[in-house]
Amino acid sequence: MIRFALRGRQPRWLLPVLAVLPIVLTYLLTAGPIRAAGANPAAAYERYVLQPLSSVDSVFEVLLTSTPLLFTGLAVAVAFRCGYWNIGADGQLLAGAVEATFFGLNVRGLPAGVAIPLVILAGAVAGVVWALVPALLRTRLGIDEVVTTLLLNPVALLLVQCLLNGPWRNPENQFPESAPIDPAYTFPRLLADHRLHLGFAIALVLAIVVGVIISRTPLGLRMRAVGRSPEAARFAGIRVERTMLGAALGSGAIAGIGGVSQVAGLQGQLTGGISDGFGYTGVVVATLATLSVTGVVFVSVLLADIIVGAESAVRVLQLPPQMGDVVTATLMLCVVAVLVLRRYKLVVRFPAALHRSRSRPGLGEDAA
């Protein structure tokens, strides 16, 4: 018989176990499917996890892939920390991408030194605008933000498609993609021979800033108090609605900059696939990171590692491309399941021992 019992105190060994156990479990759980798909699980994991980290070039590829996840993961973590369940980072990212494209197509002739800060600011504002209505509905009227932020995602996607099939359709080839943006807005590369761009550096700086705000400033402490116990925060004189509104809009701004980074840093134009569900993956990242900023950085890179690895696994091992998602999803489930151990411990009792230790039958024991 296995039961969950509340933990009194967290033992010291718990934290390392919580970090390692999900990885082991994920390996065990996915070994079967990978085998069934015709590959050696150990070889597959070598591809998924180690191969992308084996060369300088592919490490940069991993960092490039992690960039949008860093933005959305941070955005979601900021909001969740304050108890605002922003599931709309995808829409906010798209809003930022649209805004960047608007500037890139229409405001030409600026020097790069002006254009880049301008487009970043514009993208942040667009993210804020996209986040504003659900945030106001939540803080003023108490309307559940999970639904409103989530439902604005397809709205943003439809807006993108509307623009790409209408005014912004590429005049050269009539594809539903925008024309290339003005090169003045294009993010510079961080290295001469790789695509890794300024967006990654911005994401890292944002991560540091957000991390410092959350852990070291009165504002961060207020945000955490509001997130953990709004009643107690209100009781202590904290303006709960204002704090939450601020976190919600800050979250939107970060996601919006993520959209700018995809357009101006990577693609150089707006496409229908500008967001590969980054907003939703951001929720996964933030959750796996238990809302810690360092965790977000680490998890973004880990997921990017698996995404890049999955591409090579497709090529080399002929594994289906979805297997990467299977691994990521299993990892997420394992982490969430194992997190239960933070508050509960497993009590395992064997029927034989049960009889030996308790000779007296009686109350509530027949089921045991």
């Binding site: 009194g8 105190r9 009165p218 402490l221 009643e231 107690a232 202590a236 009686g362 109350l363």
Partner: protein, 535 residues
């Protein structure tokens, strides 16, 4: 393997001869690391009122709930009439002739008394309401109370609702009645009525087991008493031979001393209350409330508070008494800045603060310690963070939180208030007493001019209770005004200089503590007027 016999030797002399109606052997129940019941043996005899006495958290309720099938003990055995029975749900308990009245009543408010009583026994077939009404009437006659079977439960007083709960048990022909803290919610007059009912039941051969932490109740009604401490039976003995002080010491596990303690634990005390007002501070009014009216919820009617007028002087403790739900919570909410009144005024030190929020109240020197501790501190944050939460701006260096200052502040208060925790422990991991001390330290360290405090000792053990009460008295000596809301009459009488009673959202009366007796307060709490009471 035989059960190790605990210290309950006196039971042996009763146990021989006739079989107890219920016998518990070696009951054990753990919640996580907490051992709530540890190898408990108990025998309940026909026709006796047996008290389970112990502090909060001693394991009384757990034991009772285990016997009624609401929790499943980890080990142990229950015998009814000498035969082992297995009780895994209240259904089994009812079948074994055990009935229980839980602390929070399990009644459906919009349904009638008869419907409520029948609810637990309806099958799939048609309902015979007429027969049910007769049953209810018979049962009511049995315990000698008049109760209208067709009255809607929500229209009944708390005391009457409790009677309905007892009727529910009786209709199922129970032979053992379990009452969990039956007197906690009652005004003194209802307590007397309850005891009369219990005597009638025991005369008919029922056994009654009830939990309490009030010694005077035990001596008033019980035949035998079992004292629990930290999940273990300390002793079982006849009430006649037991000294109240002795029982208290068994309950607490150490000699009981202290000024406030005696009255709070329910000893007969003649410590002249008049002598308590020994501080000669010129009576300057720190809090003045006039015409305070607060909108109520649907179940309370239109007004939760109506035209409340009261004042608190410097160096005075004003006790606010009342049966819970008569406007105390709303009064505290307004005075702590968590709710806005629809009419009336609140003045602190002559400054109008009507409708002020937490920040303005704190700035005006109001210290606030409301009853819901979990809504006043953030359980998931650390002790040190919670201690600075109300005045974060005083603990910053540039744009950052000055961690060193926060830590030093926490260490000082932990020392000063004897909080058993480290500065980085989360407040949620602390015991109720230590959590309350964190809140006390946060508030009292600022030396507020006025302290608003509600149910400060609810759920605390004796040591923590004593500490908290001393701290409140110290505020009074310091010259602060204290408004103390409590449902514990003993606590109110021990700490207050003056008492007001709230009844249905109005001030039913005001008494200096010298004139306040439990009977008078009870009358006011039950809706009497001050003229009736002092006449």
């Amino acid at each position: 393997m035989t059960a190790p016999q605990p210290a309950a030797q006196p039971t042996a002399s009763y146990g021989t001869g006739h079989t107890p109606v219920v016998e518990l052997r070696g009951i054990r129940k753990a919640f996580g690391d907490l051992l709530a019941n540890d190898d408990i043996d108990l025998r309940l005899r026909r026709g006796e009122v047996h008290a389970l006495l112990g502090e909060n958290g001693a394991g009384k309720s757990t034991l009772m709930r285990g016997l009624y099938g609401l929790v499943r003990p980890d080990a142990g055995q229950v015998l009814v009439d000498g035969r082992p029975v297995s009780i895994t749900s209240p259904k089994d308990a009812i079948a074994a002739g055990i009935g229980m009245v839980t602390q929070h009543f399990a009644l459906v408010a919009p349904m009638t008394v008869t419907e409520n009583v029948m609810l637990s026994s309806v099958g799939l077939g048609p309902l015979d309401l007429a027969a049910a009404r007769r049953q209810v009437k018979d049962a009511a006659a049995r315990i000698g109370v008049a109760i209208d079977p067709d009255a809607r439960v929500e229209a009944l007083s708390i005391g009457e609702q409790q009677r309905v709960e007892i009727l529910k048990a009786l209709v199922h022909d129970c032979r053992v009645l379990l009452l969990d803290e039956p007197t906690a919610v009652l005004v003194p007059q209802d307590v007397d009525a309850l005891f009369t009912t219990l005597r009638r039941l025991t005369e008919q051969g029922l056994a009654v087991l009830f939990t309490s932490h009030k010694l005077h109740e035990v001596s008033a009604i019980c035949d035998r008493v079992t004292v629990l401490r930290r999940g273990r039976v300390v002793t079982t003995r006849d009430v006649d031979g037991a000294q109240a002080r002795e029982l208290a010491e068994l309950m607490v596990g150490r000699p009981v001393t202290g000024v406030a303690r005696d009255a709070v634990l329910g000893f007969e005390t003649d410590e002249a209350p008049a002598a308590r007002r020994d501080v000669d501070v010129p009576a300057k009014t720190v809090l003045r409330v006039r015409g305070l009216t607060v909108a109520g919820t649907a179940s309370q009617g239109r007004r939760a508070l109506f035209d409340v007028k009261l004042h608190v002087d410097a160096g005075e403790v004003l006790g606010v008494a009342g049966v819970s739900g008569n406007g105390q919570r709303e009064l505290v909410d307004v005075l702590t800045g968590m709710r806005e009144p629809v009419a009336g005024s609140v003045e602190v030190d002559g400054v109008d603060l009507t409708g002020a929020g937490p920040q303005r109240l704190m700035d005006a020197g109001v210290g606030r310690i409301p009853e819901d501790r979990h809504a006043s501190v953030v359980p998931d944050l650390s002790v040190e963070d919670n201690l600075v939460m109300e005045h974060l701006d005083e603990f910053r260096r540039g744009p950052f939180v000055d961690r060193r200052k926060v830590r030093a502040h926490a260490n000082r208060l932990i020392e000063e208030y004897a909080i058993k925790a480290g500065p980085t422990d989360t407040v949620g991991s602390l015991s109720g007493g230590n959590m309350q001390k964190v809140l006390l330290a946060r508030v009292l360290d600022r030396e507020p001019r006025l302290v608003i405090v509600a149910q400060p000792t609810r759920g605390l053990d004796v040591g923590a209770t004593e500490y908290v009460q001393r701290q409140l008295l110290r505020q009074r000596e310091r010259g602060a005004g204290v408004l103390l809301v409590s449902e514990d009459l003993d606590e109110l009488l021990a700490l207050s200089d003056r008492l007001v009673v709230l009844s249905e959202g109005r001030v039913a009366g005001e008494l200096p503590v010298q004139e306040a007796t439990p009977e008078r307060l009870g009358l006011l709490m039950a809706g009497g007027t001050i003229e009736e009471v002092t006449a």
